[in-house]
Symmetry: C3
Subunit: 159 residues, 3 copies
């Protein structure tokens, strides 16, 4: 039996370093011929936002959320409080020095490797995010679709 | 072979949004006929606390912890630092608008669907939480019981 | 068929309480004859640092990281913001009272039980950590080695 292995990552966090970890594991698993899905929910959705402001109709609350949340992978903050001040710049500085891939490149690589990028429709609603505000080439689904993938998965992670 | 699938979630976090994610996944999995367990440890125990103050004998340290930790699901804070200020109120506001279930309702639903809610006895000890302070209809166990469930589980998550 | 079960934990977090949870689960699984691996990446590497200052050649940025990050398991902070002030001391206080094992002892126990402690070489590079600065008796590997273990694992967690 040569079943395809599968890796299913829930990206809940909107932190730059955690999103990096998620995409590094996803790209690694795809290189090992796993079927890979990253299910973006809550703050993890921010990694999928377009950088430019997209004009969509929103309620007051939704506008607030839209403003407060970072617009796109390159704008995310760090998970580690002690680094919150200089954090992301510093990390990006050492990454450049070590030729490590920044998050937007890791996301591009994931797309090229056919990693399935999913946006959780329920939390999009909650945070007032519209499809027009998220990058192209992603899928939209809910917890049922996640479970259908994950219940047969080999590596299931919540990040 | 039609084995029952199983989902085992460790809820370590005491954040409102992370607890919501845990309970949404748990309720989804239960709807798909998984056997579902949420193992509450460390700050995740706060989601199981009764709202009312329960008089129990405590040491000074335990009293301190008891005061500093939120009493029950409705009192939890948010994981996302940028929202720490207005956070939970704002989320609850949009949730109401979208008819999304607040955390206490998600917990009730989990109970109705026979999701097994477990409180980690070792960390209860550590944080000075007594059984009288936690909601009824939950079970008490340690890491051994968690592992016995999870080692045969399909979806195992640490949240 | 009596296959050995396996538990594979990614320790991403550098928080004292999360590292405790990781090592408690790892020690429990080892006691149940699982093959257990803890893969330390990003801030989780700090749990493996030697307490003493080790003189190694570093760039300016690496020196900065080295200073800002806690040196060893005993120096880690707490994940819970509300406790950030008094946190670790308070937790260590109640742990002593309850005869719970502090983190450095949990790590020693894991070594005695042959839990495989792995340091992620890619993030070591990124944070400027050298092998001389990390404790002995650990292994060095990347995401490929993690996936090779985890894809056949029973309990896979990201902490």
């Amino acid at each position: 039996m040569s079943e395809t292995k599968s890796t299913n990552i829930i990206l809940f966090s909107g932190d730059y370093d955690k999103a990096m970890a998620a995409y590094i594991i996803a790209n690694g698993a795809a290189a090992y011929d796993h079927e890979v899905t990253i299910f973006h929910t809550f703050w993890g959705l921010n990694a999928l936002r377009k950088e430019e402001m997209v004009p969509v109709k929103k309620s007051f609350m939704e506008k607030m959320f839209g403003k407060m949340m970072p617009r796109g992978a390159d704008k995310l903050g760090l998970s580690n409080m002690h680094f919150a001040g200089m954090g992301p710049k510093m990390i990006k500085g050492v990454m450049k020095k070590h030729n490590a891939m920044p998050l937007p490149d890791l996301i591009d690589m994931a797309k090229e490797q056919d990693v399935k990028l999913v946006a959780c429709t329920m939390t999009m609603d909650l945070l007032g995010l519209h499809k027009d505000e998220l990058m192209d080439e992603i899928e939209y689904a809910g917890v049922a679709a996640y479970l259908a993938d994950a219940e047969n998965g080999n590596v299931n992670l919540f990040i």
